[in-house]
Amino acid sequence: MSGFDLRKQAPNAAVWLILLSMPLWIDAVGGYTQLGTQVVVMGLAAMSLNFLLGYTGVLSFGHAAYFGLGAYGVGMTIRYLVPSTGLGLLVGTGVGALAAAIIGPMIVRLRGVYFAMVTIAFAQVFYFIAFRWNSVTGGDDGLTNWTREPINFGFATLHIEKDPVTFYYFVLAIFAVAVALMALLLQSPFGRTLIAIRENERRTRFLGINVNFHIWMSWVISCTFMALSGSLYALLNNFVDPRTLYWTQSGVFVIMCVLGGMRSFWGPLVGAAIYVVLQDYLSSATPNWMSFIGLVFVVAVLFFPRGVLGIFRRKSTE
């Protein structure tokens, strides 16, 4: 914990350098700022899931629910209550956190595939509410007729509504705070306990640690950040539809984690970047883009079971 270790900090510096300079080079390589923003938002979502999946060792297949709750939270706040982006973000994140806190106690006693199944079941409940409640959520058509609003800090106004670059840095700033919080939590004794649970649950229990409570905490934290990223996703598109809550979306988040590497902090971000960019390019080239993404996933699981970042880590430890 002391001193500045250049080798340890190099990956962090590289990630931040790439993220901060994204709007400068993304057009030149055939992308667009919107795509960069999407990578950051999906990266945050995947990293949130990884807090639970990679660091606590619990597989949730229903995280799209909290992603979608965040998205609907911000959309419905702006549409029906107050046209305020800041309040929308708070409501979206809060709703996701509240739902996770309530559902948590019902599922923390389950393990493995049972945990995954029940998280799917709860997620589908939210999906069907959003799908069926036409008059409020817009049903299958999605929630439209609202847009992100400029943020007034009192002394200055941040115009995120039109300029994509300003919005990118707004998202990146929130991403930075969220990621720093997650990193701090993982460095803390609490984070070490989570890793202990992942490595050997029975042993952790013998040490007198309340395992279920810690899993509940990890679940709530993970879902809260998930809801935050969902809110950002809704602001990005100025649009929400029920598919953000659907179980296949949860699967996409798991794929991102596995693709990038769930044992490394930045892995899910890399996975999200690969997934989002591949999807964007391939779906323009061929209607069968899903097959190719599937292929990439199969190759990744077969040859790099620790994800793309796993390759580098193995090399550095050898």
Binding site: N12, N134, G139, D140, P164, Q187, N238, T244, D280, S284
Partner: protein, 421 residues
Amino acid sequence: MTGNNSGNINRRRLLQAGAVIGGAQLAAPYLQVARASDVVKIGMDNPLTGTYAALGKNEQIGAKYAVEQLNAKGGILGREVELLVEDSTSGDAGVAVQKARKLIDRDQVNFILGNINSSLAQAIANVANEKGVFNVDPGGHTDSITGKNCHWNTFRVCNTTATEGAAIANVLVKNMGKKFYYLVPDYSFGHTLAAGVENAAAKVGGIKVGEALTPLGTTDFSSYLIKAQAANPDVIIVLQQGDDGVNVLKQIVQFGLQKRFHIAGAQLELEVLLGLPPDARIGTWVFEWYYKQPNVPHVNEFVAAIRKRSGGHVPTARTYFGHTAVMTCALAAEQAKSLDAVKMAKAMQGFKLPPEISLMPDGAFYRAGQNQMIGDLYVGHAQSHGKDDPEDLFVVEHVVNGKDVSPTLAETECHMTWPKV
């Protein structure tokens, strides 16, 4: 794993942010130059996969043919025309929105077309409005697109669901009976189409005896058909389209429902009839365009040209929509002598399409204040085999002029707000 030395990172981050902000000032003019290219770009954000894939491919064929015709005559305002196609999927509005932004932000398209799915069309229209890009909805029918949620920059080629419902309701009540049961695809298109038929039927004494909402992409309709049967209607109104339409009609025939009830709907596509076995080509429907119009000028040339480009297949209403949508963009630019979206949209108010593009006996025009194209509708019945052409599966009984059945401008509830110049 990560920043345990936050002081250093913050300083680094600050320096980087400074560099980025400085760099962005230099980069901005370069991006402006890149925008002014010589090609006029038309972005098409339409389904190529899922239940509407077949319809989407035909709209694409029509659009490509129009681009070919334009380029042969020197393009739009003397600039070459390029068509960029993105798969919006058939029902995922999130993807459609993402693709619309990609076409507008990255590819800098001058026009954006889409979508077959009404929900996706509305979502794309909202993005286009936010960005101020000229938008044509070739084939998404729900009323709100040129109604409650209309935009100054969104033009629609296909009819509103209210118009389609009104075109057929009279015929059904007069010839088949008053009790209707509705099989409704569960999204905006289905909801408004059902409401359109219901309202028009109610005016002439039609009664709704029940309805079933079927999610988009349903393959097994048996539970809905049992409910329909139990309600004992005179007419079962089938509003499903695409693959859903194929599946529901096949199963209606398997259940033998066509022998006990009339089967009808407010809209059907030739693609659906082609996808059905001959004995399931049943019912009374509205077509929005049909290729057999021997007395209408230019239709035969259009059919011949499309046959050459589609492996011998005839154009459907979808091919027509795609073609008309691209031509609308070209006409708007030529009328305004500019690619400025506001000028183009103003130039198209009340614009009457030339006969080689409208391809309808009474012609077609864009109604001012709503941007909705109003043309003819074709009411008739399906037939199992074409006499001299295997694709001639529809018999037109009446041509209904859209002017007579469209809701009035006030009824559409469209109030446009134009941007301040």
